[in-house]
Amino acid sequence: MSVAFARKRRISITPYLFILPHLIFFAVFVGYPFFSGLYISFFQYDYLRPEATVFVGLQNYLDLFHAGSVKFIEFWNSVRVTVTFVIWSVPFLVLIPLGLAVLLNSKLKGMKFFRAVFFSPWVLSCAVISLIWWWIFQSQGGLLNYYLKLWGFDTPRWLSTMPYAMISIVVATVWWTMGYNMVIFLAALQDIPTDLYEAAEVDGANAWQRFTRITLPLLQPVLVFIIITTIIASFNLLGQPMMMTRGAPAQPTGGGATEPVMLRIFTEGFVRPFQGSAAAMSVVVALMMMAFSFVNFRLFRQRD
């Protein structure tokens, strides 16, 4: 036993050398900023005024939970906005790509072309797609309202009233990122052995039964992965509202109805020089996301 243990303890350096390049970048660009952020969240901190750095303990965190204060209102408003966005966007970002992937997985002609078409928006940058959709949604000569008016429908103010402002952002995001999830689904679908389907067909299963009894169960690990990464990606919402609505419409109680938490953190730390407090917000958001992901894993694991 102890001999085997000792033998196992002999560390070979080769695998570590393989991960070293990534480890260095991870440490420099993710590891260090993470711990540095954690550290400054306990200070009143502005990197341009080192003389004004004061250790404040948990004050930056307590401020976020001090009901009625400006920080409290603005922070939790933005969290609410982000969570709303997650709830509105994730189902579409999972179901639409799943549907597309199933359709594109067939052996018909031209499927490669459609794969490229559906994937192509994803290669565009956040700023580009936001601008495209701004032009579609904007109220003066915007494409959407032009056609709605032409066909005699109501023409809502897509970018300045609720819930339309949120809908606009969700639509833009779904169009932009669905291709990525679709490609992952496609890869997973192609891993499913075709003999399973053939056997099911022989047993007289129809298309829907084949989908629910074979495709979905075998996709489950990928599905969990996609749901969780999509939730996290949606949590990181920043660019689309920044470009499309600028957080509008303003809320009477403070904050904007489409101001996501990442924009709030950016404002706190860069527009205002409160990097300590912004770091505390980031930590709280990161904790929320970790808790969320943990619960997700537990939920889906139990069904295994």
């Binding site: 993710v30 341009l48 920043l238 303003a250 527009v271 020089p273």
Partner: protein, 447 residues
């Protein structure tokens, strides 16, 4: 296998969590390449001051990424051509204040930078600007050449940190064709005239006066607040005071005007775009929109003019671009002297800048025949006498945040009780002012 399936996604998640979606909008555009240096060996033209320094290179940053950038580039070229011993390189960029702050951290700030008047105190307290009292005296520039408000914006804790370049006031743009059709030869100057014309032009699909729920409604509110005799803050910048009777009157007037003459719930810039289609009689926006909505920018006779007086006294919202000297770890007296020559030249030649749609801050430039020939800038110029600026305290722009939200909420209809909205915003702004005081202290670090 089980653990790997669990650990791998978790690592991935962790890296995603920690790296958050990048900022998308940070556009960087080095505008207008500066002029070529005149051939070496060309005799220096009377800049004895810099002779011992050789050719001094200056970095000059500004936020002029719009159509005004080329005009500034033209001025820099002209300066370089006439000053062979100074070479100025101009950089215009977006996300300007974020750029400045990161450059400050890396000690790569430029030698001369443009700042907006309301940003100066904040940047002084964040150790990004140097006082320039001595240099100003050397240059022979004095407060008497500027309207009091715009000059005061550059004085922080008793020292001078900036020299004003321009004043850009709120401006009224009107569709002269629509006014003419309705029988009006001249734009309104008073509340009665304004309401009469706006009502007359609101027929069918047309709107008399479009006003949004986003930028610049807060600025419009500030202007009307001053016109009705109020102020945004107490003079020492410690209390928000916009929830006064004047504030309620101002915002009530705006809401009524929106109800009667405007499309509801317009987003940012929608009033400009609607105006450009020729269906809107009047809009208020910054003077920097002049080239966008008048002249060749539109297919009708779009005209820019001074805003009317709605309240019992005249007041005009305005911003101002000012020259500043950023902080460097080692100060080079040669560069400072060259910067002084450059700034003085730019101020004295700001007539070119006026063509970009700005009003020169210098009284003597505004009085010059050359400026008076530039329309519509010259006819709007008198309104800068009524321009007001926020108190020069650090972080003051943050305290405007809640006001913007309140005005936006009232204009978008998400708040209906005007007094309550303004009260609530004032309460939140006061909290921000206290936070600012706590973090910035009473005076900037000794230079």
């Amino acid at each position: 296998m089980k653990t790997i399936r669990f650990v791998l996604p978790l690592l991935l998640i962790l890296s995603l969590v920690l790296s958050a979606c990048g900022t998308p909008a940070a556009t960087q555009s080095p505008a207008q390449p500066p002029a070529e240096q005149p051939a070496a060996g060309q005799p220096a033209s009377g800049q004895e001051q810099t002779q011992s320094c050789g050719v001094v290179e200056l970095q000059y940053w500004n936020p002029f990424t719009g159509p005004d950038g080329p005009y500034m580039g033209e001025m820099v070229e002209a300066f370089n051509a006439s000053h062979p011993d100074i070479k100025v390189t101009m950089t215009s960029q977006g996300e300007y204040y974020t750029q400045l702050a990161t450059a400050a951290a890396a000690d790569t700030l430029p030698d001369v930078a443009i700042l907006h008047a309301d940003q100066i105190a904040t940047h002084v307290f964040r150790n990004m600007l140097r006082p320039m009292d001595d240099l100003v005296a050397e240059m022979g520039i004095s407060s008497s050449d500027y309207p009091a408000g715009v000059w005061a914006a550059g004085e922080v804790a008793g020292r001078r940190y900036s020299i004003p370049l321009d004043i850009h006031p709120m401006t009224m743009f009107y569709n002269a064709d629509l006014l003419k059709q309705a029988g009006f030869e001249n734009p309104p100057k008073t509340r009665e005239e304004f309401e009469k014309i706006a009502a007359a032009l609101t027929v069918g699909e047309n709107k008399g006066f479009n006003i949004t729920g986003g930028f610049p409604v807060m600025q419009i509110f500030q202007m009307l607040l001053h016109q009705f005799g109020g102020t945004e803050f107490s003079a020492d910048g410690t209390q928000a005071t916009w929830n006064s009777e004047a504030g309620v009157k101002a915002l009530q007037w705006m809401k009524d005007a929106q109800t009667k003459y405007s499309e509801p719930n317009l987003e940012v810039d929608a009033e400009l775009n609607a105006f450009k289609t020729g269906t809107v009689g009047m809009i208020w926006n910054g003077i920097w929109q002049t080239t966008n909505v008048t002249g060749a920018g539109v297919e009708f006779n779009g005209v820019a003019t001074a805003v009317p007086q709605i309240g019992p006294q005249m007041a005009v919202w305005a911003g101002s671009h000012q020259f500043t000297l950023p902080v460097h770890r080692t100060v080079d007296p040669c560069k400072d002297r060259a910067a002084a020559i450059f700034i003085k030249y730019m101020v004295e030649n700001s007539v070119t800048w006026a063509k970009a749609g700005q009003i020169p801050a210098s009284n003597s430039v505004r009085a010059s025949a050359e400026f008076k020939a530039i329309q519509p800038q010259a006819s709007i110029a008198p309104s800068v006498e009524y321009a007001f600026f926020p108190p020069a305290v650090p972080g003051i722009t943050d305290a405007f945040g809640p006001l913007g939200e309140a005005v936006g909420a009232v204009m978008n209809g998400t708040a209906t009780d005007i007094k309550a909205a303004l009260d609530d915003a004032a309460k939140r702004a006061n909290e921000i002012l206290v936070q600012n005081k706590a973090t910035y202290g009473d005076a900037p670090k000794a230079p």
